[in-house]
């Protein structure tokens, strides 16, 4: 409990904020991307941009699992749930991601599909054990943090010789997405990254070294607490000022250079790289996602049900792609806050509380209009 207070101390925040203000160069721009949705959420929830000088612009990155899920992948899940009489289970936020034909998993559920929300992968496995008469499919999403738990249940399913359990694997890789952003036009304008918190506990800090050395972009790995983010921004400002590009670790209480080797080995045992995977916004990226190894083929829902991937374009007016690439801000989308709201999301960025549009709508939209004081 002490833990929380320690990282939410308003006085300390003010001190860091003053330091940042004193250290930024008046004539420089600092465009910093926070890769993770967890950071986006913390920044919006604590109103951290109010504590930063005008020279610093925070750009939301693509590190929000449901945001980068393309329509075609959600369509797979919906099709299975509606046509194959399976129990489809997934994490809560996935249920509302808009897909083709105005459907989402939640709407498919209202049409009679058996769609269940689970809190953990073990809940998914339990469902399969409780319903031996039905096929249970787990729609797995997420970056490196959520991959090891998926690997665990696949191994358990194999040990239990379950015949009615399989996984649609949508697990994606953080470094691949960072490469894609830097290869893109938005990348040129970036001066540094606030690096992932939980993801880095698994993969370690080493995979980011290429961004510092080859692309000359500073990376500071930060925890998800507001003070972590403030401290990381200060460290990035210092790197930019000094002309350094290094991987620094603000989150030493949880992240090492090598990461969690046991988790990495587990993931490696169950999964292998996909040749290519379509991301919402970032397009098709080679070697950017995982699939089940052939030793676990019987638990691969794509093989079991013969799912063929089909790319589906985003809704015309939706700017999720540009937002995920860091090229646009939520308020620049024409339908932000009017047609597209958290109650009725049109794009994926409006769904999860970590999505850039949802975070801005929920916590920050007062900044778009003048509000009179009392």
């Amino acid at each position: 409990m002490k833990y929380i207070d320690e990282f939410r101390d308003g006085e300390l925040a003010k001190t860091i904020s003053t330091n940042i203000a004193m250290e930024v160069c008046a004539d420089k721009n600092y465009n910093l991307m926070e890769f993770c949705g967890g950071h986006t959420h913390a920044i919006s929830r604590y109103g951290l941009t109010d504590l930063l000088p005008a020279q610093i612009t925070l750009i939301h990155g693509p590190g929000c699992p449901v945001c980068v899920l393309p329509i075609g992948r959600v369509d797979h899940a919906i099709k299975l749930a509606l046509e194959q009489d399976v129990i489809l289970c997934t994490y809560g936020d996935c249920l509302r991601v808009p897909a083709s034909n105005g459907l989402s998993l939640l709407k498919a559920k209202a049409r009679g599909a058996d769609v269940r929300m689970v809190y953990s992968t073990t809940d998914a496995l339990k469902l399969a054990q409780q319903h031996p008469e039905k096929q249970v499919v787990f729609f797995a999403i997420g970056f490196e943090t959520t991959t090891p738990p998926t690997a665990v249940i696949i191994k358990q399913a194999q040990a239990l010789a379950l015949k009615n359990f399989s996984v649609i694997c949508n697990h994606v890789l953080t470094p691949a997405a960072m490469h894609a952003i830097l290869a893109n036009e938005g990348g040129a304008k970036l001066h540094g990254f606030v690096g992932p918190a939980h993801v880095s506990t698994v993969i370690g800090s080493r995979p980011y070294e290429v961004f510092a050395y080859d692309y000359k972009k500073p990376v500071v790995i930060a925890g998800f607490e507001p003070l972590d983010v403030m401290q990381a921004i200060l460290m990035l400002v210092r790197q930019v000022n000094d002309g350094r590009a290094e991987v620094e670790n603000e989150f030493t209480r949880a992240v090492t250079r090598e990461g969690n080797l046991k988790a990495q080995a587990l993931v490696d045992e169950v999964f292998e790289l996909r040749d290519e995977f379509e991301w919402r916004g970032l397009g098709t990226i080679s070697n950017s996602a995982l699939k089940l190894r052939s030793a676990f083929a019987e638990f691969d829902a794509e093989r079991r049900f013969g799912l063929q991937y089909q790319s589906v374009p985003d809704y015309k007016a939706c700017e999720c792609g540009a937002i995920l690439r860091g090229e646009k801000r939520p308020q620049q989308c024409k339908i932000f806050g009017t047609v597209c709201t958290p109650e009725n999301p049109v794009g994926s960025c409006m769904v999860s509380s970590e999505g850039a549009c949802a975070a801005h709508y929920t916590y920050g939209r007062f900044k778009d209009v003048a509000v009179m004081a009392a």
Binding site: K14, M230, P342, T362, R365, F366, V371
Partner: protein, 349 residues
Amino acid sequence: MGEIKASYVRPLDIKHGRVDMSHGSGGRAMAQLIEELFTSALGNEYLGQGDDGAVLPQVRGRLVMATDSHVVSPLFFPGGDIGCLSVHGTINDVAVMGATPLYLAASFILEEGFPLADLKRIVESMALAAHTAGVPVVTGDTKVVEQGKGDGVFITTTGIGVMRDNLALSGNLAQAGDKILLSGTLGDHGMAILSQREGLKFDAPIVSDTAALHGLIACMLDCGASIRTLRDPTRGGLATTLNEIAKQSGVGMMLHESAIPINKPVEAACEFLGLDPLYVANEGKLIAICTAEDAERLLAVMRAHVQGQQATIIGEVLADTHNFVQMTTKMGGRRIVDWLTGEQLPRIC
């Protein structure tokens, strides 16, 4: 609630017995259940009459009526159970209108198979709550549904109270410049329930704040401060209640996070589950909106009452056609405290 027998009838086996369909059939079994379990615990002159309704004495003044259905799982939680909760909830709904609560009606939907011992505990807790509050349950009803069609026990309570003269409290009366007061810590009830459900263990368990607030409210109204709105922030928490008031009154609000009291274990549990305490339910707290001149005086009155010891001024009302509820965070930034979208969901990442 008819008369039974003159001869001997075997009493209910409260220790091992369970609710069965005959307890809702209107026959002798039902009469026995009502008499031995309900009337004996809740006993008062009106209920004791045993008629289909209660004839109550004349009252002078405008009447306020409120009703609330209670479905909670688990039925028993640290700090209370569905029984006392159903009494407190409805008393509070009547009291925040500015009325003195007088009588309650209670309607039970029991699931077949429910242990009579648990039912007895619930009814006794209800009786104690009603007795302590001085608001008797004067009429009631029970129905039994088949196993699987209920969640143990559902209780609906309805309350009647009498308004104070010349008093008008409403969610549409807040004006720019008014102060917003909160009577104590947030999120205790919701997190007491959730931490039980999720099996979270803390050194000191989180205890529900379920309580009847009409005593505190009476002191607040007696002091003569010009109060515009009273509300109890139950389902949806403080955030939802303030958004409702802002919309009804056509105003905005600015809250100060550092002024909002939250118990440490509640904060830790919320953090663990990825929830925001501003959206978590309370069952024994109230929000008051009051003119700026009278705010300090009202605060002193609240703090003098046991239920308001931790009361604070948490913010003020602004002129804002967008009706935003904003907050300055502990970090010194600003954010919106928005309406809830769907259910609060734990984060994945």
